[in-house]
Every structure is written in C-alpha cells, then in structure tokens.
C-alpha cells in the first residue's frame, strides 16, 4: 500500500477559486466528455459542488488541481468564488497523488492524455520502467512493454494531430502509427483524416496502407497522400462526406498493391473480350493461385444451356481464353513463336 498514506496528510477545507492555478496541468488527464460537462454544470448550478476538488498547496503559494479540472471550470463559469477541496501539502508525493487520481479511471483516459501523463510521471520519477508499466496498466492500457513504448512514442505527434487523436479517442496503436510519420506526413494525414474521418478498423487500415506505400515506393508519406485521386476526394467536400472513406480506402489499396490491381484489371478485360453472355461468371482461382479457372452460369431450359455451351466453346478457342491463363502465369506462346 505505498500510496495510501497520502490521505493522512490531506485536509478538507474551502479554498478560493482565485488562488487555484488553473493552467497547471501536471495531473490533467484530458478534457471531460460533453455529456459529463452538461451534467456537471446542471448540478453545480442547482445544488452547488457535490464533491470536493483535490488540490495540492504549492510551496510558493496558491494551489494546483489534482482532481476536478472540469469541476473547477464549471464552478468558475457559474460564478462560484470558492470550492470545497481536499488539500494536500506541497511535499505530498506526486507519484502517489497521481496514482490515487487514476483510481477507477482505467479505460477512460485517452491514449494522448495517457502519453502526456506518463511523460510527466517520467519527468518527476525518471525512467523507472516498473513504475511506468504500473501507470500504463492503471490508465487501462494493457499490453505491457509494447503498450508503454507505444505511449512513449506519442511524443512524436504533431500538436494538431495529437488534438485530433484526443478528440476522436484514437487508440495507442493507431496514434503510435501516426507518430511514426514525419512532421509533414502527419500534417498531410491530418487533412485526410479531417475530411473523411475514418474510425476504428478503417483508420488502422489507412495507416498501415500509407506506411507500406511509403516504404515500398521509397516515397514520403505526404507524397503518397498527394495522389491525384485522393486529392480530388479531398477537394470535393460533398464527395469526401458521402463516399470519401471508401474511395480513399480503395485508392490506397490500389497504390499499395499496384501489380495485383493491374492483374485483376487484366483478367476482367480478358473476360470481357470472351464476349460471353452477361449471365456467365468467370472467376480466377483465389489469389490467382493454381491453374483452374471457374465458370458459372445458370439456365432456365435446355435450349439456354445449349446456347451458353456453344458460346463457351467458341470463346474457348479465342486468344482471350489463353489470356485468362496468361493472367495466372502461363507463358505467352506468341512471344516464344510456337504455334498454338
């Protein structure tokens, strides 16, 4: 119970709001949700503060907030001059206070706020890996060292990107992926994210695709994002809002897998060139693996079957049919000069 004693030093009293340094964010864990703020304003206006602040007296005078940033803001907004507060002395252990502040908050701290809190803990306690791992867990980020390192890497986030991550409750893995991008890349990404606002899995896919395009092509992230099709989505707010997410995802996939995209296109063209009725479906093997192409069609009577079979027989003798197999890797007999 290393941190329990901090309450023995605390005194419940009433403190003047004017003496509280509202800018001191050492114990800050991110902004409260809109819903909570609404509730807070209502209760403070109607019944006054129902819970005391936690505040720490500063050695040089005044107070810093430990717990109750939103309460303080709401109290000031409704014009309260003083607040009940559990006051801790200046020499109270900041790590212990932070630990007590985090109690019950696992899972409600955003990745960005958690990363900043860790940075402040590290500033006062040094790089104590066990302590930092404990804090990571208390904030609700399970995953041990991997998660800790991800959170530490968020220091590389550009401020506007960090804000976007915080507003959109982006998880540590995705935020860390963004932090790995260079500054200009993060800015380019932010333009995209603001326009199409992908969430959850789609955001994860976007980030992986962008990083891989950049690695594969040896280009900067911002260069990958300056693609003509992506830009055209971004410059048209209506498209961006309606189909933007999917269009950008599709385009990123095309840029990530250009050869496969070209292969799929080539197969489609070959199928078209067969000139078969639209009811006949021709599919390559899964992932273009193997040497079997699937043909499927339905028929309503023997006559229709005969007709389709005749079109298939005709198509089978065409170069387009051989092209289907060339799409799978069969050699081009025209190149080798042999007669097929």
């Amino acid at each position: 119970m290393p941190h329990a004693d901090i309450f023995q030093q605390a005194l419940l009293s009433r403190i003047e709001c004017a003496e509280i340094d509202g800018r001191d964010g050492f114990y800050f864990l991110g902004p409260a949700s809109g819903q909570y703020l609404k509730h807070l304003y209502k209760t403070i206006r109607e019944q006054g503060p129902l819970r005391p602040l936690w505040a720490q007296r500063c050695a040089e005078g005044g107070y810093r907030v430990v717990d109750g940033f939103a309460r303080l803001g709401a109290a000031l907004d409704v014009g309260l001059k003083s607040l009940p507060a559990l006051v801790f002395p200046p020499d109270a252990n900041p790590v212990g206070l932070f630990r007590a502040r985090l109690d019950g908050r696992a899972g409600v701290v955003s990745a960005v706020a958690g990363a900043r809190a860790l940075q402040r803990i590290e500033a006062v306690a040094g790089y104590d890996i066990d302590l930092l791992l404990e804090f990571t867990e208390w904030m609700g980020f399970s995953g041990g060292l991997v998660q800790l390192e991800r959170l530490r890497s968020l220091r590389g986030l550009e401020e506007p990107v960090a804000r976007w991550c915080e507003e959109n409750l982006v998880g540590p893995a995705e935020a860390a992926a963004m932090a790995a991008f260079p500054r200009e890349g993060q800015r380019g990404l932010l333009v995209l994210l603001r326009a199409v606002n992908p969430g959850g899995n789609l955001l994860r896919r976007y980030l992986a695709l962008i990083a891989e395009i950049s690695a594969r092509e040896g280009i900067l992230v911002e260069e990958a994002l300056s693609d003509r099709v992506i830009r055209s989505v971004l410059t048209n707010p209506q498209t961006a809002c309606s189909a933007g997410r999917e269009l950008v995802h599709r385009r990123l996939r095309e840029l990530r897998y250009p050869e496969t995209t070209a292969l799929e296109e080539r197969f489609k063209l070959a199928v078209k060139a067969l000139g078969l009725p639209e009811t006949v479906r021709i599919e390559p093997p899964e992932a273009f693996e193997g040497d079997r192409i699937t043909v499927g069609f339905g028929f309503g009577d023997p006559g229709e079957l005969e007709e389709t079979a005749a079109s298939l027989a005709l198509a089978a003798r065409s170069d387009a049919a051989r092209e289907l197999f060339r799409c799978l890797g069969a050699p081009d007999e025209r190149e080798s000069g042999s007669d097929t």
Binding site: E289, G290, P331
Partner: protein, 374 residues
C-alpha cells in the same frame, strides 16, 4: 569472420563432460557459463530479458540429444518438395535476417547446440540404410546456418568425414557465412559434399540480412571451397520483388559465375519470399522499414502462407532461370515449395503428380552413387 560473442552459455549437466562440450565452452567467448539441470528454467530466465528474438541471438545452450533430430523437411501442403533431409544439430542462428522463418518456428531464447554428434551419425547410419529410389540429400541448414558457428562446433568437418564414408548420399551445408576454415582443413574432400550459399541481391543482403556476410564475402568464400575441391550450390531464397529486381538478381547470377564455372555448381534453387500466417504480425511491425517486406503478399491457398501472386512468382522464376541458363545450360534449377503449375509455367518442367520424389529425382547423382543410398 569469427563467431559472434555470446552473453551467456548454458550447459545441460547431462553433456557437461562431453568432449565437444568442453571444446565449445573453451572456444565460445562467453561472459557467463552456467551448468544447469533444466534448460527450460534457464530459458524462462532469459525470456524475462529483452524478448526471444534479441536474447536468442546472444545466448547459447548445449543440450543433450533427443530423438527426432533427423527428419524430413516439413514441406508445405500441396507444394512440391525437394525431400531435403534435415539434421538438426544446431537450432537457431546468430544472424538477424528480418524475414527469417525461425522467428516463428523457434521460440527458445537461445541458440541450442546438440554436442552429441555421434548420436546423430548413428541415426544417419540407420536412415542411410533405408531403401530409397533416389539419392538422399542431408543438410544442417534448415533450423540453423550450417557454418555460422562452425568455429565453435567443428561439426562441418566431422560430417564431411562421415559422408566421405557414405558416398551414395549428398551432404549439403547451407550458409550465409564465410566460416569455411573447418572445411578447408579436411584432408580429402569427398565428391558428395556440397557447400551451398544462400544469396540475394546486394541491397537485400545489406538491408535485411543483418550480421550475415556480404554477398562479395560469401562468393569469395565459395571460391575458396571450390578451389579446395568442394561442389557448390546456391539458393536464391527468398527472392524479393522490388524496383530493379531483374537487374539486381541478374547481377548476382553474373557474380556467381565470375567465381564458379558451370561444372562447379551442383544445383541452384529459387524460392520467392513467403511466410507463415504466424509471421504476419512480425512482418507488419517491420514492413514500414523498407521496400522488401512491403511487397504484395497475400495468404494463398492451400496452406494460407503469404506469397506474391502466382503470376508474379512465375515471372520472377522465369527471368532468373533464363539468366542462369545463359551461363550454365546444364545445372539443375529447382523451385522451393511451389506447385506443379508454377514448375510447368516457370521452368517448363512437368512434374509427375503421382511421384512425390519428382523434384528430388532431378538432382544429379552423387559421384559415389552405385544405385543405393550408402
């Protein structure tokens, strides 16, 4: 290049007095040597360190023999296999190739050496006595680099001596190292021993094969063993698709044949980069670090391993095969873990679907072969 220094060496008490153990302990430049009754306990201590991939490169364990060290290459479902027979006397490798499959096969945080080679050779004697319709090929390069730690173990020279007495089968030592001194000390070089180098485009060697020798150094070492009378082999595996791959791999072929004449090379294998699904998270973490792991790979049926699309692989094999043929019309070129369709379209070779040993049968017979395997 001598073997890397290791942080720790664990010796199982069952092999502490074995002469090879003493030799390895003496040669290993190890900061801490500990005799233990249970290697698993030692592994759990190591696991508390910086993870098996990192720690596993800096720790050695000398373990007692266990049955099953001689096995067939596990192959891959529905893919044609060369039936390489694997001698696992070392498990793990000091090199840190980013694509290495051992990252998911081996989860011990140490390189494990089995010093009781005499038990392996006894198992080999029994295996060689089996009636097979082809000459078997044995090798130590499946779960380890055959030569990377040879200045510690001295296994290569002992195996060469053993196979000198069994001329009906091949021994193939596969490496990315230049540790050939042990091989050069062998008095009479048997014709059935092949020293093989895993080769890759210069840029891949530099970027993805950390700790391994440069391509130039590998080829220089190949020249030395060739001069000593060994046959050579080369494995283009894994082949990566990247901008300029055609030129880069053609250059490797050219450099090989600048060192070796066509008759010096027993066989060449080609295998495109692929990985098990379990490796996907490892590669995901590393993919953004460069172009090689960020290729267009998909889980492919029937084994769901990640591979380049088949037409891409066929094109690469065809191109490389053509380059090799320009220098060497006769050398046996085979594909590692590919389907019959890929063999047909890439190499213009039809494999009998009913013959499991069709790939193996394409290998040249060892010079001492008399139709039996030993």
């Amino acid at each position: 290049m001598s073997a890397p220094a290791f942080d720790r060496l664990y010796v199982h008490e069952a092999v502490r007095d074995h002469p090879r153990t003493k030799r390895i302990v003496e040669r290993a430049r190890c900061r801490a040597v500990e005799v233990v009754a249970d290697l698993d306990e030692a592994y759990s201590v190591l696991r508390e360190g910086s993870g098996p991939f990192v720690t596993g490169k800096r720790s050695l364990a000398l373990a007692p023999w266990r049955d099953g060290r001689l096995e067939a290459c596990p192959g891959s479902r529905s893919m044609r296999c060369c039936l390489y027979r694997v001698l696992n006397i070392v498990e793990g490798c000091p090199y840190e190739c980013t694509y290495c499959i051992l990252q998911c096969y081996l989860n011990r945080p140490a390189i494990v050496i089995y010093p009781e080679l005499e038990k392996m050779t006894a198992a080999l004697e029994a295996d060689l006595a089996k009636d097979r319709s082809y000459a078997s090929r044995y090798g130590t390069g499946e779960l380890a680099d055959s030569l990377a730690l040879d200045d510690l173990t001295g296994f290569a020279g002992e195996l060469v001596d053993f196979f000198g007495r069994h001329p009906g089968a091949w021994l193939e030592l596969k490496t990315k190292s230049t540790e050939v001194d042990g091989l050069l000390e062998v008095g009479r070089v048997p014709g059935n021993v092949v020293v093989a180098w895993s080769v890759n485009a210069e840029e891949v060697c530099r970027s993805e094969e950390r700790g391994a020798s440069s391509l130039g150094a590998r080829l220089a070492a190949a020249g030395r063993v060739r001069d000593a009378g060994y046959r050579l082999a080369f494995h283009f595996d894994p082949l990566f698709r990247f901008h300029g791959w055609e030129r880069a791999y053609r250059e490797v072929v050219r450099r090989i044949y600048a060192v070796a004449a066509p008759g010096d090379i027993a066989w060449i294998s080609l295998g495109c980069f692929r990985h098990a699904p379990a490796m996907a998270p490892v590669h995901e973490d590393r993919r953004a670090s460069g172009p090689f792991l960020a290729g267009e790979l998909f889980p492919v049926p029937p084994d769901r391993k990640y591979r380049y699309p088949q037409p891409v692989r066929v094109e690469m094999y065809r191109e490389l095969h053509r380059s090799i043929r320009e220098f060497d019309p006769g050398v046996y070129v085979y594909l590692c873990m590919e389907s019959a369709a890929v063999w047909r379209w890439a190499l213009d070779m039809e494999l009998d679907p009913a013959d499991d040993a069709a790939v193996e049968r394409g290998f040249p017979a060892p010079p001492g072969s008399t139709g039996t395997t030993s």
